[in-house]
């Protein structure tokens, strides 16, 4: 009759399987096989339904937390883009430290998405979806910030030496067209790479946050 326990969800079986198996062994002498089979099958169906409901709830919660993290990161990154391109543009065009710092901050935020999702009880799929959503939102908001900054403050941005050099050798008829053309590649890059990294880092963060079951 142990084979019937395989009908239960793996996570449920891991927690209650041994106890349920022992109980079935205790009940076998007094309970009919048909009644036991019927009850175990019904129990397995309920366990799957419960797990499905719990998974939906925890996944939604993980996505909400991921969106909150992504929104905060987007605000900070967008403010940084305005600051470094418009308010305090670098005279040397060298923003390596800021760019590396921003990437590290985004990676940490995607890891945090997983930690928060894990604490919300999300499973592997929920963590991946939450990280993917957070990464895509950060990617889209980053490129949106660049589009806005480059078009609204074109007169300031177009004074960057890299833009002047790039435009001169681009063959484009206007600086605006050259800059917007140049944003398509990074737009796809940010969205796809941050989405993919978000899925992986969120999964890692969720696994880190998972506490061991009481023995």
């Amino acid at each position: 009759m142990t084979w019937l326990l395989r009908l239960y969800p793996a996570q449920w079986r891991e927690r209650y399987g041994a106890e349920l198996d022992a109980l079935v062994g205790d009940l076998r002498p007094t309970m009919s096989t048909r009644a036991l089979v019927f009850d175990l099958v019904r129990g397995a169906i309920h366990a799957h339904l419960q797990q499905g409901i719990a998974m939906q709830t925890s996944t939604r919660s993980a996505i909400k937390r991921g969106l909150l993290v992504a929104t905060l990161v987007s605000v900070v990154v967008s403010a940084g883009i305005v600051l470094t391109n418009v308010v305090l543009p670098s005279p040397t065009d060298d923003d390596t430290v800021i760019v590396v710092g921003s990437y590290l901050g985004i990676f940490a935020a995607l890891l945090l998405t997983g930690v928060l999702g894990g604490r919300a009880g999300a499973g592997g799929r929920g963590l991946v979806v939450a990280g993917l959503v957070a990464g895509v939102v950060i990617g889209l908001s980053t490129i949106t910030a660049f589009i806005v900054v480059d078009n609204v403050w074109l007169d300031i941005v177009s004074q960057q030496q890299s833009k002047i050099d790039g435009f001169a050798s681009s063959g484009e008829t206007s600086m605006r067209a050259y800059i917007n053309q140049g944003l398509i590649g990074p737009g796809i890059f940010f969205t796809v790479v941050f989405g993919g990294l978000g899925a992986v880092l969120s999964l890692v963060g969720g696994l880190i946050s998972r506490r061991p079951e009481p023995s």
């Binding site: 449920w12 927690r15 209650y16 041994a18 106890e19 349920l20 198996d21 022992a22 109980l23 079935v24 205790d26 009940l27 309970m31 009644a35 036991l36 019927f38 009850d39 175990l40 099958v41 019904r42 129990g43 397995a44 309920h46 366990a47 419960q50 719990a54 009481p214 023995s215």
Partner: protein
Amino acid sequence: MQPRYAEPSVLVLASLCGGPKHGYALIKDIEEIAGTTLGPGTLYGALSRLERDGLVEPLPSRDRRRPYRLTPAGAAVARASLEHAQRVATVGLKRLAAFA
């Protein structure tokens, strides 16, 4: 508003009011107090939901037979459920007396 629990969960809570019990002891105790036999799948379905909601907690396991005990939140839900059942029974019996 407190969530309502199905009959097997209430029976488990009522049984655990008498102290910690493992699965087999729960089934036998519920047979005695309610005259109904819960199957193992039904019992563990109820136990898993009650544990998830923090109404019962597992104790260290002996020979794969893990006892469970009521938590303070479980005791409160057990009291509310049993008082509700008592109110329904009282009203029902009164109406039945008038009907007869």
